[in-house]
Symmetry: none
Subunit: 223 residues, 4 copies
DNA sequence: TATGAATGAGGTTTCATTCAT
DNA sequence: AATGAATGAAACCTCATTCAT
């Protein structure tokens, strides 16, 4: 899956990177508040700290901004996630931690994930495809973890249910953002983590009934 | 929760109803295909079978169209749902059937639900509020069913998990539409129903281990 | 050679005709004064007597304006030309009058012809092609007249020179407009007519040396 | 007629000359292909082999590029023309050769002449004036030749027709470029030369009926 | 002298909404 | 009650030009 090439009139790759980071940051905030369609390119430029002309030195069209946002958010999610997962854990504890970390990252990057989630459908053609593929690749990560547990005989779950379970995990993460108007009134992220994972694990039919996932203890680092 | 009043220059209430039904039908198709922002009022008028001038005799603004759509879809979902639920069932079988019926209705009204789901965020103020309240009222329906089962001692689930479980059911329905690009490639609606319900029920920790929900047998009635 | 279809959002064909006439009239004046590229669509709208929005109800793009101009000008040229030619004349007198009438029409529609002549190259694809074809069809008209004289043994001119002579006549007409900055200082239209035709006829090697074309006596009928 | 001064930030006159030659060469190609208005200064800079910043070290505005082009083309046309004219010829043969050489040069510098011809109207004020004067000076060259022949009693042509004949010669040259879409399909440059000159000469009413201009034998030198 | 990132005025086009018929 | 032509604010995007390095 190749990245879509976003055209730039500027040659300095380093500068492109910096400026695009500014753009993405500004766009996330604006798209969150006013939606992609409700945000003008001028606003993005201004919020990015430069003129409309300069904005268009780094993108080819408004849609490119959305694409840059989605691309950056996915990368950031995956990156933070991988940093959070303890490589030493194995078995159910690992599975537990993988899911928990995912929820944490989503909580951490709430605005970003929400934007990506709600606006990505405005992308077209190649860009949309790329984003959907990335989405899919995340599902596959969960699939690997679950299959690993199945192989070790730790959980029992029908083959045909595996994929569905992964969708459920993924969507449980998104839910935390797109239903935050109600769900974050009812739960904090720790409770949400514990309860969702508890329900998921019961769905997995864990054989070792002594397994007790440690309660979450999230020290949300910064942001 | 009072309905938002959509202004009309026409007196005849009967006519208003008819025309708005035409509008909603046309809008659902268009919003699905091109999104709310990608659809023009002209297109809605044309697809509705009348002129742009006439359209504005029955609505006050473009947003009203979206509101009418959301309102109508919720009503239709609830109505079809209630018609599908067998009033004679009780206990786990009833819970099972309530969820199953919900999934069926969502499948039946796929385009409508997807539009409502993806575009309702474009609503503002009063209208948005109304739609969110309606959404909430659906969650409450599930809650009632679950509490009823708990009271009867049929399922065990922590008080704090109840609400979350209901969100999960609701979102599992939406998922069928907003992830249809991938999930409907992997499952048909029957399999999706059975597997999602199986996972949910395991999450409910059903005491009566002999309970075996009948496999779905959906005879999709028209549409 | 089919006309290019210029899109309009308005249904009333009569109105389309009227409005487009207004547009063409305004555009000719503006394009003459400031050139096609130097004229904004806003200016065209304003000079046409309506808003920019209304302008775009009658055209699809700025280029359409230029196309409408070229199309209208050609039609008007041909129409006026045909009206001017005396159907009763024959032989050299007819040829003489055909050319003279052409020059007169060009003089009469000076601004229009100049615009068409100088700006048509800004057209693209289908539209450009159509205009070039129309141009060609005018050359063919002269060709017919000349061949008719040749057949009657009135003039002697090599076969291979015929087409060239027609180009020369056509361009002699255009010249009157695109070199008007100098040529109209030196000659008035009557003198220009007479002298150009004299030179052309000498080029035709007329056999009947008694032929004396009557001096021009142009009573320019308004405009 | 003084040249318009094109400002430059660079002192070294030698360098200015070199760079401007690069600019003109690049601009001719671009203006031909995309027109003056359709070409950006960036493109000119790039095609010239340097940056946009450098371009503006050697010109004051985009219009200056067009002016430089027109100026250079006229100079080149005149220079090549003079080189081609055989100083030893006299009388009708000289006149013939002067015209023939002019056509040859136009053919040789087709792209350049076309650009100058089609785009010079975009010049303004002083620059436009200068170009028109240069144009005029070419007409005067022909005039001198013709008057010389008249004085020698070689051709008969009314005083008032002289100027017109010169315009016709000049335009016959331009025609070869601006009608090339059709005329170069019908004739090659040799035939065009011969036939146009034949027609012109007949228009001149040559007295010495034994004069037979040698058929063209153009050995197109390079390009 | 050369570079190229930055600027912002201004261009074309769209579209929700109005109102005379 | 129905029509659809008219409106104009505002959107996206371009590009000639400048200036710090």
């Amino acid at each position: 899956m190749k990245k879509k090439k976003v055209p730039s009139l500027v040659k300095d790759e380093r500068l492109i990177k910096t400026r695009r980071e500014q753009i993405v940051k500004a766009a996330v905030e604006l798209f969150n508040r006013k939606g992609y369609h409700g945000t003008t390119t001028r606003e993005v430029a201004q919020a990015s700290g430069f003129s409309i002309g300069t904005l268009y030195e780094y993108i080819g069209s408004k849609e490119d901004i959305l694409y840059l946002v989605c691309d950056a958010v996915y990368d950031e999610v995956v990156e933070k996630w991988e940093r959070l997962v303890d490589k030493n854990l194995v078995g159910l504890e690992r599975l537990h931690q993988v899911i928990q970390s995912y929820f944490r990252v989503v909580d951490d990057l709430q605005d970003e994930v929400l934007v990506m989630y709600q606006e990505s459908k405005a992308l077209s053609g190649e860009a949309l495809n790329y984003v959907l593929q990335k989405e899919l690749s995340m599902k596959v990560m969960f699939e690997k973890e679950i299959r690993s547990c199945i192989e070790k005989g730790l959980i029992t779950i029908d083959e045909e249910e595996i994929s569905l379970a992964c969708h459920n995990i993924l969507v449980a993460g998104h839910m935390w953002t797109f239903r935050r108007w109600i769900i974050q009134k009812e739960y904090d992220i720790e409770a949400y983590c514990d309860l969702q994972i508890a329900q998921l694990f019961r769905g997995f039919q864990i054989k070792d009934h002594s397994f007790q996932p440690a309660r979450s203890n999230i020290n949300s680092e910064g942001r």
